[in-house]
Amino acid sequence: MAPKLPPQPPLEHSSAATAGGAAAHHAPPRGMLRWLLTTNHKEIGSLYLIFSLIMFFIGGIFALVVRAELFQPGLQLVNPEFFNQMTTMHGLIMVFAAVMPAFTGLANWMIPLQIGAPDMALPRLNNFSFWLLPVAFLLLLSTLLMPGGGPNFGWTFYAPLSTTFAPPSTTFFILSLHIAGISSILGAINIVATILNMRAPGMRMMDMPLFVWTWLITAFLLIAVMPVLAGVITMMLMDINFGTSFFNAAGGGDPVLFQHLFWFFGHPEVYIMILPAFGIVSAIIPTFARKPLFGYASMVYATASIALLSFLVWAHHMFVVGLPLVAELFFMYTTMLIAVPTGVKVFNWITTLFRGSITFEPPMLFALAFVVLFTIGGFSGLMLAIAPADFQYHDTYFVVAHFHYVLVPGAVFAIMAGVYYWLPKWTGHYPNVRLSQWHFWLSVIGVNLTFFPMHFSGLAGMPRRIPDYALQFADFNLVSSLGAFMFGASQLVFVAVVILCVRGGEKAPAKAWEGAEDLEWSVPSPAPLHTFETPPTFSPHVH
């Protein structure tokens, strides 16, 4: 998740080598300034990943406060007001500060290497969009210390709880989301410009690896959807401070309008968080099964159609808000129609395994765990699509279990698999296998211990976002809390693996994994700061 590129060894070696022939090349600035002013996609990628890991731990601590309170019935640890702040901040930090920047970091690192480009299209913009993030999320975290407390209205910040009845720090919450939104938008523009214009000669759109394809679609989704989020929070700002009533029934507004606008952004957002994961897993499984990805064309086409279909399903988050019957049916049908072509992509990975020659290095372990556990999340998603049944599932822990299964063993495991897969390329060393396996098994057991009982507490009737619960939910929550602490602790093992891997470990050749075929493996490991100065000749091979 966070390869700390050692400041010294690989850079000196690479810049010295490449600078040999060039004219007087001014040495890069030293120390902190170098990271502040870097326009190199590898350094910015590492910055994104380090930032994302730190935020992953902060969001994780908020989650552990929530789980510690829910360990037993009764209020032992926090008052309900602070508990709501913890659930809200956990959601916001994990979605906007941990998962999205992690994928952006992997994109910054790997897209130029996979398409044979020397760097991103707009390097200075790349630096700017990274350094917006620490600003945005320091501001967001500082709202916890403001009078009236931080945001306590859930990461979905429904009006009027988030407008008329919100704490005074809400304006800062809106400012921080604006800044984070701008950072994602600039990142997306950068990625689209790079992929469309800077591929190595000979590499046509159709020869691009799937990770690049999924990120191209994700970038288009980001460009289409982030402005809608910016619009919604601007309307919120005007409702709170300038006396408009977009979402205030008193002035002719409508709180349900907020939910429509938010989820019109919200659902493509969850696809933004899972498509890059599809890309990563589609790179890893063929490598370790030593067999080309099954149905590459179908994967590309299905991902492309998701970019359009994901805009038709948003109101399945609002089945109980009082939609008219026709709208309820419409969104039930569209949700079913889109769930199938997306879900069956899992079968492509499994068929890639069929009659392959499989080995179980750490990246493969995480990719396989992704396939199994993400599919379980997908099945609970199918159950939630049945609108009448959703009247019983909505806003209970069954929904919490669903989206955690698609996000934690889904997006987060895919990010970890990506990091394990590309660490040899970044650092020149293999990650320590023994420790990686410890990390894997602790995480898998921790994730299941935490989120599987939530299916049952949700079905049995436990609503979401409550700081205390009736006695019949006690055992499920006990197990969930234990699992949460176990999963949290096992991420420390991950940090150890990464640090050790950066420092040393078994040397990795350029082609670190026997089955790897993409362009990034033609560059030496550790990847020098400047690669593909002269565009590589690319010969398309069959997908």
């Binding site: 046509r204 759109m205 159709m206 149905g295 590459y296 064309a297 179908s298 590309v300 086409y301 299905a302 492309a304 159609s305 359009l308 279909l309 805009f311 038709l312 019957l325 026709v326 709208a327 049916l329 419409f330 049908y333 569209t334 129609l337 199938v340 072509p341 997306t342 069956v344 992509k345 069959v542 997908h543």
Partner: protein, 57 residues
């Protein structure tokens, strides 16, 4: 034009042959595919809305 529509339908369904993919990428221009995709999405909205209104009656 018909082949583009067929390709977009295949994309909605999620299955496509490698040969067809190669042909699509070699001949078609991306903006055409996007335009047809948007139009097909509108058609899909109309269809599903129709089914929903009929079912609601």
């Amino acid at each position: 034009m018909w082949s583009v529509i067929k390709s977009v339908l295949a994309a909605f369904f999620g299955v496509q042959k490698e040969r067809q993919r190669r042909a699509d990428f070699e001949t078609g221009r991306p903006v055409v595919f996007i335009a047809v995709g948007v139009v097909m999405t509108l058609v899909l909205i109309g269809l599903v809305a129709l089914v929903a209104t009929l079912a609601a009656r």
